[in-house]
């Protein structure tokens, strides 16, 4: 056997594409435009590292307060942190209760069989998309105006936004199921409810649970911020003491947030891995 024999097969020449020159020219133009836009953006955002260095000197006073957290506010902070976690819990539960039944109506594999089904599918999908498009912060602003300052508008904002997120995730996991068991339930003489409850649900339940836990986790972090627009929880405290320039109290809040968020984050990650392994 000679080396030539082992050399194998040469790839056939690539087919000459029409407009190859025009296309490569256009690519160059697009690249150039991107670079130019980035340069402009640096100017517009007044990006200037020197300014940061100059500011660092005046931040010295703030820093000295921050390294001395004021622990006297801890009891009220704990109460507010608890409120934040509760807001996230109720908001997430609200979202689960609404998006769970809706997600079956937004799953292609269950709905595209009939004309009426296709209409329902499109409508529910649209609702999910619209809800997702509104950031919880914007929704919270709206609900504070409607129902007043406090945790309730925060719950509504988190809940509504999460309906869009969970609805999309739930319906996509329904679309990814194995159709085999569904066919088996039909062949056993199961009715429409049984087909979904026994053929679809057991396949998606662990995923649904994992997504819900993850959503609660995200909502805790979001609800911290929501307080800034008056929607309850620890964010409201942060805003108040920042504007009163009481940085040692702000510092205590930061430490607490860091601990709670990290702890819940790893707890939710651990739980989700357990679900994935099952």
């Amino acid at each position: 056997m000679t080396a030539e024999k082992a050399a194998g097969v040469a790839l056939p020449a690539r087919a000459e594409k029409p407009y190859a020159r025009a296309v490569s020219f256009a690519k160059w133009l697009i690249g150039l435009a991107l670079v130019a836009y980035t340069a402009l953006a640096v100017v517009h955002t007044e990006f200037n590292p020197l300014k940061l260095l100059a500011g660092a000197a005046s931040a010295k006073e703030i820093l000295s307060e921050i390294v001395h957290p004021d622990w006297s506010v801890l009891p009220s902070l704990l109460r507010l942190m608890n409120e934040t976690v509760e807001m996230a819990l109720i908001g997430t539960l609200l979202a689960i209760i609404i998006s769970f039944p809706l997600s079956f109506l937004a799953a292609k594999n269950l709905m595209l069989g009939s004309a009426a089904g296709r209409v329902v599918y499109a409508v529910v999908r649209l609702i999910f998309n619209v809800l997702r498009a509104f950031e919880p912060m914007l929704l919270a602003l709206l609900f504070v105006l409607m129902v007043g300052i406090g945790p309730f508008p925060g719950v509504l904002a988190l809940g509504l936004h999460s309906v869009g997120m969970l609805g999309k995730l739930f319906s996509e996991s329904i679309e990814a199921i194995d159709p085999g068991p569904v066919e088996a339930i039909q062949a056993c003489g199961g009715n429409r409810f049984q087909v979904i409850w026994y053929g679809v649900l057991p396949q998606v339940a662990p995923t649904f649970l994992a997504f819900s836990i993850y959503r609660w986790d995200i909502n805790i972090r979001m609800s911290i911020i929501l307080g800034i627009v008056g929607a309850g929880g620890i964010g409201y405290f942060l805003l108040q003491y920042l504007s009163l320039l009481q940085y040692s109290k702000v510092s205590t809040a930061f430490i607490l947030i860091l601990i709670v968020v990290t702890a819940l984050d790893s707890a939710s990650a651990w739980l989700r891995t357990r679900l994935g392994q099952k």
């Binding site: 085999g180 068991p181 066919e183 088996a184 339930i185 039909q186 062949a187 056993c188 003489g189 199961g190 009715n191 409810f193 049984q194 409850w197 026994y198 053929g199 057991p202 396949q203 339940a205 662990p206 099952k278």
Partner: protein, 250 residues
């Protein structure tokens, strides 16, 4: 032997224009095992699915136990209660226990109030346990279905079908996703139970040898049409060539 199933001139064309079945007729007696052989894509699966209405025939009729089958949802559910099916890929729900999977065979008997709660009557659970006992997996009843081996999973599929207390069994390539040795064991066990309970069985088989060994009668399907019918002994090489094409060299 009285007739159980009459299939008359059944045809099915899929929405994409594929003519999977082009007029197949067959008859099945009570307690008889009829195997359908043919190339993949010859229409064997479609034929079985037309009998329990998983696929709606575009032409022809099915008569079960002396009554012509209606294709509305209510009558279909009633029909499927009497006709159990076994699938090539088992179609178990891996997340659920072996017992829960077998209980699926009792779904059409489950009362409305119990449906949301995965709850079954004592009688249903006893029937499911008896089915598990027949296929020799009673001790594995609380294992998750996905933890079982392929052969065991198909035995659970058989138990689910038996739990329906059916009058007809449809088996769509029941052992073709198992290795040859396991396939023979599982099918042998299955046929033994079927014989004992005198259950009429219609099965698609890929392996000619298994069809010869376990059927009362064999039907050859080619390009959506029945091209041969006869006894296992009559299945000569010439016949096989007519079913599988001239290239057949079994």
């Amino acid at each position: 032997m009285p007739r159980l199933l009459m299939v008359d001139n059944l045809a099915h064309t899929y929405p994409d224009g594929t003519r999977a079945l082009r007029g197949v007729s067959l008859a099945l007696n009570r307690g008889e095992i009829l195997s359908i052989i043919g190339l993949s894509g010859a229409g064997k699966s479609t034929l079985l699915r037309c009998i329990n209405g998983l696929v709606r025939p575009t032409e022809g009729s099915v008569e079960f136990d002396g009554r012509t089958v209606d294709w509305d949802a209510g009558s279909l559910r009633h029909l499927r209660r009497m006709i159990a099916m076994i699938f090539q890929h088992f179609n178990l729900i891996g997340n659920l226990s072996v017992l829960s999977n077998v209980l699926m065979g009792r779904l059409s008997y489950q009362s409305c109030l119990m449906q949301p709660f995965y709850s079954f009557s004592k009688r249903d659970r006893e029937i499911a346990a008896a089915a598990l006992d027949k296929i020799g997996l009673l001790n594995e009843w609380d294992k998750r279905a996905s933890e079982l081996s392929g052969g065991q999973q198909q035995r659970v599929g058989v138990a689910r079908a038996l739990a329906q207390e059916p009058r007809l069994l449809l088996a769509d390539e029941p052992v073709s996703s198992l290795d040859p040795l396991t396939a023979d064991t599982v099918l042998g066990h299955f046929v033994k139970i079927v014989r004992k309970e005198k259950l009429a069985t219609l099965m698609n088989l890929h392996a000619v040898e298994l069809a010869r060994k376990y059927s009362d009668r064999i039907l050859g399907v080619r390009e959506g049409q029945c091209v041969w019918q006869g006894l296992p002994d009559e299945l000569t090489t010439a016949v096989l060539k007519s079913i599988y094409g001239e290239e057949y060299d079994g």
